[in-house]
Symmetry: D2
Subunit: 310 residues, 4 copies
């Protein structure tokens, strides 16, 4: 399979279409909705195995909310985006559990690594109700859905696969549905901290950056898993590789055709670029200088969106 180097189904669909020079993929349906000039919702549905194979994502729903100019967004735009997220999330939740079905919200990532801290930060803002229903039911409306929340840490810090931690907790407290929040890698810079992908097919932590962990999904946990993913980084080698592609395009135009260039463009230059950049021991990422602030904005959007929806 092609190495898409993005976690977004939307971007994978676009790349697949571009590489294969087609406009429609069998097994993938898409619709788009402009909420306003700064807010667009794209719904990608993978309906069969061909769709699954084409873009390397399991059968299910993938909804992407794209926000323009988040950096300069005011309170109104943040509120509007929360509401859109809330609405889409509510639809997905209702497909998989009933109004009172217990939900466990899971924030993946490392609180000490800025672009990876979104999940744990959101968890701190979730309105949990499970313990109130259990210990102080008089203080809460009857029929309130039990909500709990956890931030399990990352393999490098815990030594335990996230799915092992969650398996233990899920078996013990028996929620009906999981909502998992994770920072993703995207292919395009403009989506960093400006897009939200909601899907009902679970998640493979670190999949976007070629650092695959065991998947968190209905298959491994036996309950439905809705994933909310926000791109916070683009991998450096991806970006340089894409930059070179753009350049070869221009060379092709201006310098006339050239067999070597033709061949070059069809290759995956990723590994070669990675080596040439001399990245060494580090995992280099590309991120806006303002990432700390963008993560704060996004934290508010996601936390409010979840709190409204559940």
């Amino acid at each position: 399979m092609y190495n898409f180097r993005t976690d977004l189904a939307l971007e994978r669909r676009d790349i697949y279409q571009k590489i294969n020079k087609i406009h429609q993929i069998d097994g993938i349906e898409s619709t788009e909705e402009e909420k306003n000039e700064n807010l667009r919702v794209t719904r990608v549905k993978i309906t069969n195995e061909n769709g699954e194979k084409s873009i390397g994502k399991p059968i299910g729903n993938y909804i992407t909310i794209d926000i323009k100019k988040l950096k300069i967004a005011g309170e109104d735009e943040i509120q509007k985006t929360s509401e859109t997220l809330s609405e889409e999330l509510k639809n997905l939740i209702d497909k998989h559990t009933d109004k009172q079905g217990e939900i466990l919200v899971v924030g993946l990532g490392n609180i000490y690594v800025t672009p990876d801290a979104l999940g744990p930060k959101v968890i701190n803002e979730i309105d949990v109700t499970r313990h109130i229903i259990k210990y102080l039911p008089q203080y809460i409306d009857e029929g309130t859905r039990p909500v709990s929340a956890i931030s399990p840490g990352v393999l490098g810090t815990t030594g335990i696969e996230t799915v092992e931690i969650l398996k233990g907790i899920v078996d013990n407290i028996k929620p009906k549905l999981l909502i998992v929040i994770d920072a993703l890698a995207s292919r395009s810079i403009e989506r960093i901290s400006s897009s939200i992908q909601i899907s009902d097919t679970g998640i493979v932590p670190g999949a976007g950056v070629g650092n695959t962990r065991q998947e968190i999904s209905q298959r491994t946990l036996n309950i439905p898993v809705i994933a909310i993913g926000i791109p916070t980084v683009v991998e450096l080698a991806t970006l340089v590789s894409d930059g070179i592609d753009i350049f070869i395009d221009r060379l092709q135009d201006k310098a006339k055709s050239n067999d070597y260039l033709n061949k070059l463009q069809q290759e995956d230059k990723y590994e070669e670029v990675k080596e040439a950049l001399n990245v060494g021991e580090y995992n280099m990422i590309v991120t806006p200088k303002e990432i700390d602030e963008l993560i704060e904005n996004m934290k508010n959007i996601v936390a409010r969106g979840i709190n409204f929806a559940v």
Copy 2:
């Protein structure tokens, strides 16, 4: 039972002896060791049910390391304290599991509340090995003990009892022993961030501040639980109550005996003081202004102590 309002067995022993005007409690053995002028180790052993009942702590070992002048401690003092902690911890571990018995280190508390953040901060510094032994055994010495670490959050943020989270994880990954780190309440100001209690009887989160959670112990988890507790706060009403006792002592001396004062001194003024102080909706704590820095020092001591010991 008397409300001791401290988590330290050492302080409870002293209070019990003072109230009952005795020097020795049946079922409690103690020894003291001065490591140097700034470092003292006190070992309190509860040996029978009478000891247990007297100070409200289960049968087992309670070792307290008291560090003087931690605030101005240099790298040498911090290192020396780590080594002392490490030694005591190692002895307790060896009593309960073998050299290669898998250990899970648990950091209790809330990373977003300064005096409660010690546990989560230590977890970030633990040298975990479990995943390396599992996935990259060639990079690690044969016979290395598997160590994992988790920071499960607090009930108010997760909606789940900590012991429920741990039960799930312990059942799933099956460690042989748990080390739990928690911020405690002490009775005396001078112990704040300057004492370390190590015990092999588990822990009741929030016990010191009258906010009892389900215990984390061999009884609930079926494996031995070693607790490392560090006082980071004194409850305000406790301190005012103690301050008034000191004052009544002086009154008794100077103002001659007085039936009302005599009676007063034997009462627990805690609830009355709490009401008089008009504390309202908050949980008021007493802490040094320098608590952020003291917690950093203590984090280094505990993390190193654990890393050496395991």
Copy 3:
């Protein structure tokens, strides 16, 4: 002079009246306004030297905004409080400079010490305009007031008196008015992070906790200085001393009169209590456990209040 151990003119007035058993102080005028059930504004005006001497604060205006239940305040209450602060602040600013008079906002305190971090945190949220007016005037409305902001640090970290730093900057950039934000000490617990004092007489950093620094005022800087102070701590010995007073009151009632008690109540027990509590090398403070969160709320209120007003 009596050691009031509070920076709030309002509390000093109350203490002075209580000690001297009077209801009105010559040279001090007060009015109160209930904005709503959770929001009260008290305006204390010191009009002559007698007022000044009585409560140890210079001639000028002291406005205190008291917010009830800030901990559970929603976005609406926070907004309403900002608006009240903004209004009062605007009135004071208009008394001392014109619509376009340049303002420098100064956040006192130490970003690394939680209860002292309010000033620096607010500075990060101030909408500064001075550099835009200077370098990009086309992007800003004509007539916009130049606003700049600085967080100069604390003496223990910088080695320089704050007033020396500000003197240099004020002489060099020549603003027309200073707004100084500082964390204060109050006498009563319930005011912690729940009251805002605005005054036009400058500030003596650390005055409330007996750690006097050189004053920041028109006298030292040659421009008007408006101070916004928020209590974030009560000193421990103050609180214990007050607790004992309450106790002696009750003793007096119940145990009949007693010469020693009578005498005791008139004394300042502060130093004695301080010694008895064995506070040692630390500066012990009393603060709600939730101080990190309360400071965030207050930061939003103050930053918005200032941004609206200027």
Copy 4:
């Protein structure tokens, strides 16, 4: 002048030599010293106007300490690097002031933006003595050098040019020498948080990322300015542009010569790449995912290095 897009004199020298295919630049002298296998010191001295013009840096000394494998450096390596920094720094200080000449240490950057937070973080660790010498001379050895430290913030947050703030403070407290710490941009990824440049020619904040602020130097402040700069980012467009150069090199080899390619390689593709990457409103940076941790390591190295040297 060529746009070097790096703040390091060492890298500029290398780029100039490569572009001009020369091995020696008139007016630039260099020596190299391997301290050990992981630690190299390069001393670049610009001696005349030709050197100055060639690489766009003023006449003076530029010392670069390169540390290999900082990420996995132990306490020993950190200590060794501190000592090297301290030694080089001491030599430069002694050239410009005497043993007791007062020094002001300035930490540039924004504490809230991770890769820009190094300066403010170091300031918090500097052992300041000025206030002790002034207020408590009995507690300090006679002849101790007065040291103060300040973190003035950034133009976007303060609205004031950093040099204006410093001018005011320098005029008022009259230190004999300034040490300025700043995060730099470098050209190569492997120098991120792994190199330290010490120079005695002052600094132009933001120069490396094309965001020039007024210079902080003897010319503007009338006292010598030693700058300690640490690369924490590489600008994205720089890196992509360099990546394309590497690619064109390979094309040249493999695809035979081509007039268009020849011409292309001599052009500065930076602006074109910037546009092609669709960076939009953000300032995209490339940084290791582990930057938070690397900055902590570097903070310790620089703070210790300065504390030893002064």
